[in-house]
Subunit: 322 residues, 2 copies
């Protein structure tokens, strides 16, 4: 099977769910009466920070790795990723027993790079520009024959990410709204696809950092913003939305709301404190969106995709460096 | 019912379990294949950081509050606690609809004091000495008629704390060892009691900070050390072991091992990173004991009581104060 040219469908999400079932965790759905009271709505948190490799990314990566036919798989896979997708692809490749190459930009978060290496991937460093990392990827591809598994535009990846929302919709009846963070758009477009297919009354909402609001702006303009300089604490959401992801979000009429970093950090702190769950800023933004946009969420039953928990503990000097 | 004079028995643990069942969470048991591999044994973590009010303390406090007869209960309860027990008692009292007074030493951890206040208790401040806080407690008792619920010597409290181990033993078959942190000895003596009663082949081990190793020293000497100056990051374990707690630990031949703070912080970091669970230092010490004492734990099936998750987030400036 070569990478499909068409955008994924509901059928592809079902196929992904079956394909990753032996490897991925069916993560729990968490509740907090305290946070419900603060938010004024009923929140159901899909705990993807408890997914293997610490983020939803394992779903898409695993789907892509196991969708390859044996001949293609034998040459391995390659990707560029500063973080969770790299680790997820490395783990998926190890589970299939194939090689994995990850192109990491200089200056990437140390804890995330260490995780990629720990799962046995071969690391390649590039300058931190899109052009440089794509060039390095192409170089590795031509040298090894590895298949590129793009972090968010690959249709298998999008379908895989949609399985988190599908599981949540299967677990919790009557969700009115489903909130997911927006970075490259793999998770948000997969979530929107799952909602449209499996719970048409449920509306998907994207949460995007104010300092990286290219998707918000692209939807407003009706065309994809091609350049921007992100400035946000959400290290997983600094990417420009992908073309197929933008097309899906637009076609499915997904509303994207923006969230300031201060609100995201406050929401993260609240969730750590109340739920004792270590979620990363790029996850907490979805809760922050709920707390900051009562006009959308008040009184509703809301699913929140907590995308990951790969917090950089080196950035927490208080307890760990004494 | 007045506070029993005798130390608690296995029957008291069973009674406590029935009494608190409508209010307490039956917390999950967590696994980590990564940590098992590092530790060289099979670990089953009892997740009391997910207990109500964020610690096992709710079990004992709830048992004590609901064991009181109506007449006694009407006058309320009082305790001295710098932290988790105060919050737990406040919540239990609120659930029964009675008053709760908490004597808090000056300089107590801000986040824990805030939690006590949030559960509706009346706060009383005292100097941070045993004499001062006991005097203030006596003052509140005589003014209000409230019943003192001591954080760890109260037999209902000990029996209540033992329900965590009982649940773990009911959930996981064939545990060889059960590790619990040692502070005042409420949890460790309750755990030892549960192990002796419900799984006689399972040995209870206590984990105590090197900088607050009065129980270790008391067991070595065969008599209770009466004075010491604690110096440890484990803010929940700075107390001297209680008399009835020491008597139980001695009678049940519990082995106590000591752990340096560096090892505790490293274990906490490991657990945060791998399991995305926010456990406090006073909990992480139990995992640190396992990682540091392979001669005891290697190859065994081990239960670990993760006692609580009330981390002081103000002590983590990196992400929260930018």
């Amino acid at each position: 099977m070569t990478i499909p040219a068409d955008p994924p469908s509901a059928q592809d999400i079902l196929a992904a769910a079956a394909r990753i079932a032996p490897y991925a965790h069916a993560t729990p759905v968490l509740r907090s009466r305290g946070i419900d009271a603060l938010a004024g709505c009923e929140l159901h948190f899909k705990a993807e920070h408890l997914q293997r490799a610490g983020a939803f990314k394992f779903r898409g990566a695993c789907n892509a790795v196991f969708a390859l036919d044996d001949a293609r798989a034998a040459a391995g896979v390659v990707t560029h990723s500063s973080g969770n997708h790299g680790a997820a692809l490395a783990l998926a490749a190890r589970l299939r027993g194939i090689a994995c190459h990850v192109v990491v930009p200089e200056g990437a978060l140390r804890s995330k790079v260490a995780a990629i290496a720990a799962y046995g991937a071969t690391l390649h460093t590039s300058a931190p520009t899109t052009a440089a990392r794509e060039a390095k990827c192409a170089e590795v591809q031509s040298a090894t024959g590895a298949t590129l598994v793009h972090p968010y535009t690959n249709p298998w990846v999008i379908a895989g990410q949609g399985t988190a929302a599908m599981e949540l919709l299967n677990t919790v009846d009557g969700l009115d709204l489903l909130v997911a963070p927006v970075g490259g758009g793999g998770l948000s477009s997969g979530t929107a696809l799952a909602a449209a297919a499996f719970a048409p009354q449920c509306r998907a909402i994207g949460a995007e950092p104010s300092g990286a609001a290219d998707t918000f702006e692209s939807l407003r303009r009706g065309e994809r913003v091609a350049q921007f300089t992100p400035d946000t604490v959400c290290d997983g959401l600094r990417t420009l939305v992908g073309e197929p992801n933008f097309a899906l979000l637009r076609r499915l009429r997904v509303q994207v709301v923006t969230v300031d970093d201060d609100a995201t950090v406050a929401a993260m702190r609240l969730f750590w404190q109340r739920c004792k769950q270590l979620i990363e800023p790029s996850s907490a933004i979805a809760l922050a969106a709920v707390l900051g946009h009562r006009e959308i969420f008040a009184g509703r039953r809301v699913g929140v995709i907590l995308s990951g928990g790969n917090v950089d503990l080196d950035a927490l000097p208080g307890l760990f460096a004494r």
